[in-house]
Symmetry: C2
Subunit: 653 residues, 2 copies
């Protein structure tokens, strides 16, 4: 029987691969570690730190006798050139040798048995260097006499000419193609399979896909992925603007410059806008400014918006001209902040807006900080349809016991940011990052209605942004990118007759309310009815959120939960609740879907929500350099393409 | 409190919408029906039939007194012109009035109560007409004196100049971006987040998304969606090349020409190749030739490959020059065929190949039918890795009791088709449809390993096709498109320590074997080991299919099943089995994943497999006209773009 012409004989080589899901240190499969690691790409002139570590595991499968090498050496070779010790190469002083140790678990069995592996470390860090000449470099760590770890680095060659005056990067956090398809279905009318209107995203001339995986795991978080988008360097889950070393200090890890640091360093009169519907210390806004291995270091994040990095000599870019979002608790000393940040920003010539009216009335010629509530901004669905959910939240941005009122949405924040930056930086151009954060947050909560509402708000914001830029005469000078930082495994597979499901008493019979293929029928969310919602010309959201026939939606991995496929009118969903018993973990929240049925989880019992997924995410681009964004590429290419379009690749002075 | 500047006052209009998931007749919300329906698009010169129906519901919510109108009239108006009775417009005879009745269920309650609604019908059909002048047309059915149903039709205006000599359309049945991402992860090595090799799809210059929804439901099947891709007309689930009328006859429905019918009508010396890893009567190959409302009419399908449509005057295109795939039972009179099709094809100057050797040795200058087994072709994984699964299948293509042997794959079939068409039709050009069918079939079975194997085989086939066309000097004259017909809600959310899962006894504890985010780690499928598989240069499949750490994969909707996340070495997966009790339906197949845990279903209990999903699917294009395929569009645009590239838009002679 004929088989496998393409399949060769089995390989004789045996590779002693460690368990790949539990790693001694991400990016460091050998006992010698180099950060930036093998295969790192750089923008010419981008500042970065170099961290070297030599590991001596005391126990575990890698155990060896002796201390970690204190005499390791490190050389850099430009391809075709000669090998030069690092301090000579960059003409910097040799740093002091550091020593520490750390522990890790080799796998889940070791974790259950509380048997950590201990590793002793010697390390050095070379701070704030840059490579200017495009091409390939070989960086070699020599240790333990004969061992070496080689990192191949590439400084990308690209044109130096600036092609875009402005760049606006919209990030739909967690947004996938699947979600866009579902959002279109509930908000845009179709007749016999032809849509009568288009989403703003559907009108973009260029479509791409970017791969979101991180350096040391194939599923990323938003810190890691935002870092890749803004810096061209993939790193480790929870890290912002640094590679993660094995030291305990979350502020000493090797940094690399972000696009706003580079842009402002080269163009001091350019403007920066940072906008999010999340709390502003959250990962996606934070990754433009912060440099820490722990995204949860919120005070560090706000301080870097305010005054940049202060513990080391680093690019002082002056902070964003416009900073708009939520998370008042991280600005208020009475809450979680270490300093009174509102006062500090105001002393630094920022206007402070704490509601939509103040936002819109703020003068366009001054810097602007807008913080509109504690925690995240309530969702579009709660702000616009189920407004009673805004009550009794005690989330006023001034720290009082009142509810936040007069809330702006992503659209109002983004349009105001454009006004301010156009006024202040109209000559030198600007960069805006505008994040629809709660697509992700509501996908985590498996609240698909709210997530899709956020996505539609993003689409509406993109549409209004294009219109605004047209009015200002800036559209053709502005590169507009809409993308995501990672996905969730969401899709729609049919419809649910909620009336029929409610009428059934048995969990198995309830499932017969689901129609698939031809029985999916048409979307009822766009149909007119006695209570249907209507919008301004060109604005598209569902006419009704609670039709009899709803979407049969889901994600591929979930905690124990119940499903009735109905909109949660009383506020965002809580699919699972803790039993407070660690072994039992989280169980389905009965109150979440009383009329529904139980689905047992496919995630570890410590998960109370859904998780991120692997899928490539879409990239929509229009404007100068749009052609760079077609096809399939790595997430870091978004950074390099934006940098190319802004002409940020440097020649050595 | 400020809300919803974009949200206007509730509409006063009440629309009496019927239950949208149960429809009297898809595409016919009124009592008068016009097919092609409102919003249909046409290629200039494309032949089509017009079916008119007037309904008189006897009972149910739409019940009315009296018979259906026998005196309805139908007019067509070119925009700016005058209204002309249809027979005059097309200069054809008035057809006879037909009468019939049918029943349907208004919703699941009516179905449970066995309370059908009865509808009496009057109807006429105008066969084989065409519109040549681009622009908008208004087609109006007048009935019951004052009622009317208006269909707005558009004949698309496009250049007449042919730009591509050849077109090859690859269809990854059920393939999504999410699956491509997962296939890349298991087959391509990466270092610190940078892939060391690229998929063929990742190298395409142009990326698009197409919307796959059908005319009357937002989830499509493969018949309906293939019809849209090949004809520019979306229709109803299970329909091939026709709109579905309400008559019982599956062969009298209103037809429209497919791209191969049009191409061959205009270019009699052009060549057609149809290739599938499914049985050849299956929907995706069938939709190029067949015209029936029931995709299950397999004998009709094979007969239309052999002799075209015979029950009406219709385009006689001569059938495919190359027809390669599986499903011998539909060719053998001893099995399910009504005639001995092998003999008929051979009498019609086809060579017959029943194995890979015969396929590859067949002369390139003669027509070729290749049928390699009964049912579907075994999967790539079974043909190449777990080959003992090919035994004891009694699936020989000659109808004997032997096992099919010496099986080709998609690559061998596609490359041979190119050789034959290049030899026979090198002057006038050719069109090939090549389908990786079992991406879909194995996704239905929730056998993600096999589905991804099929996807990687498609990618390898695309790569080899590009190389072959380059060798033949045809690459720059060939438009290559790779897309899908619909998706499945698949994604990857982490990894599974199969050793840890096996060691746990409790279903909840087993779930703790799953690692997500940073604990996903890296792909072990590409790692070398003592038993690792190796491939020829440039061919990429996993080095191992059964690493300790596997993918945590899933779909969003599923029957009851068990999960252990291990490759199924004994053959394709069967996730659920029937209880033979209709009310209880299908339950988890214990043997499918003995070491795993139980997941209760989120589909009706009559479902034993996964189902299709909503998501837009990717389109990769390269070659002449590639720029037409960027951005986001409707599935029917694939047809119109291919037709434009082949210069198929006609002027009236």
């Amino acid at each position: 029987m004929q088989t496998i012409s393409c399949l060769l004989a089995a390989a004789a080589v045996i590779s002693g691969a460690a368990a790949q899901t539990h790693q001694r240190l991400g990016g460091c499969p050998d006992l010698g570690c180099v950060f930036p690691p093998d295969q790192a790409d750089f923008l010419a002139g981008q500042f970065f730190d170099i961290r070297l570590e030599v590991h001596s595991p005391i126990n575990g499968t890698e155990a060896r006798a002796g201390e970690p090498d204190p005499n390791f050496t490190f050389t850099i070779t430009k391809k075709g050139g000669k090998s030069v010790p690092v301090a000579n190469f960059f003409k910097i002083d040799e740093p002091v040798l550091e020593r520490w140790n750390f522990t890790w678990y080799e796998d889940r069995f070791a974790e259950d048995a509380h048997s950590p592996s201990l590793v002793n470390v010697t390390s050095k860090i070379y701070r704030r260097v840059a490579l200017y000449e495009p091409g390939e470099y070989e960086a070699t760590l020599n240790y333990y006499g004969t061992q070496k770890t080689v990192a191949n680095w590439l400084v990308r060659k690209m044109p130096h000419k600036r092609r875009a005056k402005n760049v606006i990067l919209f990030i739909g956090d967690g947004m996938t193609t699947n979600m866009i398809t579902a959002a279109r279905l509930i908000a845009h009318k179709s007749i016999n399979g032809k849509y009568m209107s288009k989403m703003a995203l559907d009108k973009f001339p260029i479509l791409g896909h970017q791969m979101t995986h991180s350096m040391d795991s194939f599923i990323t978080d938003s810190a890691n992925s935002a870092t890749a988008l803004y810096t061209g360097h993939k790193t480790t889950v929870n890290a912002l603007g640094v590679y993660v070393d094995s030291s305990k200090n979350p502020f000493d890890d090797p940094k690399f410059e972000t696009i706003v640091e580079i842009f402002k360093r080269q163009h001091p009169h350019a403007g920066i806008g940072i906008i999010s519907t999340a709390f502003l210390a959250d990962a996606t806004p934070a990754a433009l400014a912060a440099h820490t291995s722990k995204r949860g270091e919120y005070d560090h994040v706000i301080s870097t918006f305010y005054e940049g990095v202060t513990n080391y000599t680093w690019t002082q870019w002056g902070g964003p001209d416009v900073l708009l979002g939520a998370g008042a608790e991280n600005f208020l000393k009475s809450e979680e902040a270490k300093r009174e940040y509102y006062d500090l920003f105001e002393n630094n010539d920022y206007n402070l807006a704490l509601n939509k009216t103040a936002l819109q009335q703020a003068p366009d010629d001054q810097k602007l900080l807008g913080v509109f509530c504690k925690s995240n901004l309530p969702t579009w669905l709660d702000r616009n349809v189920y407004t009673s959910n805004l009550l009794n939240k005690t989330n006023a941005p001034d720290g009082s016991a009142r509810d936040a009122e007069d809330l702006p949405g992503l659209k109002e924040m983004t349009l105001k940011a454009i006004d301010v930056l156009h006024k202040r930086n109209g000559k030198d151009g600007w960069f805006i990052m505008s994040e629809a954060a709660s697509i992700d947050k509501q996908m985590h909560a498996m609240d698909y209605d709210r997530a899709l509402g956020e996505l539609l708000e993003l689409d509406d914001t993109v549409s209004a942004t294009i219109e605004k830029l047209k009015q200002l005469g800036e559209l053709e000078d502005t590169l507009i990118i809409v993308t995501a930082d990672h996905g969730h495994g969401f899709d729609v597979t049919g419809s649910v007759d909620t009336k029929y499901m409610e009428a059934q008493k048995d969990d198995r019979l309830k499932r017969n309310a689901i129609g698939y293929y031809g029985n999916s029928g048409l979307s009822q969310y766009t149909m007119s009815g006695p209570n249907s919602l209507r919008y301004s010309e060109g604005v598209h959201f569902p006419s009704q959120w609670d039709p009899r026939y709803t979407l049969h939606s889901g994600v591929v991995a979930f905690p124990d939960h119940r499903e009735n496929y109905e909109v949660h009118k009383d506020g965002p969903r809580t699919p699972a609740v803790s039993t407070k018993d660690k072994k039992l973990g989280n169980i389905a929240n009965y109150k979440d879907a009383v009329t529904g049925y139980l689905v047992n989880g496919t995630l570890p019992v410590n998960a109370a929500q859904g998780v991120h997924s692997l899928t490539d995410v879409p990239v929509f681009a229009r404007g100068p350099c749009q052609e760079l964004f077609g096809g399939v590429y790595n997430s870091i290419d978004i950074f390099f393409n934006m940098a190319e379009c802004l002409g940020l690749s440097e020649k050595k002075k």
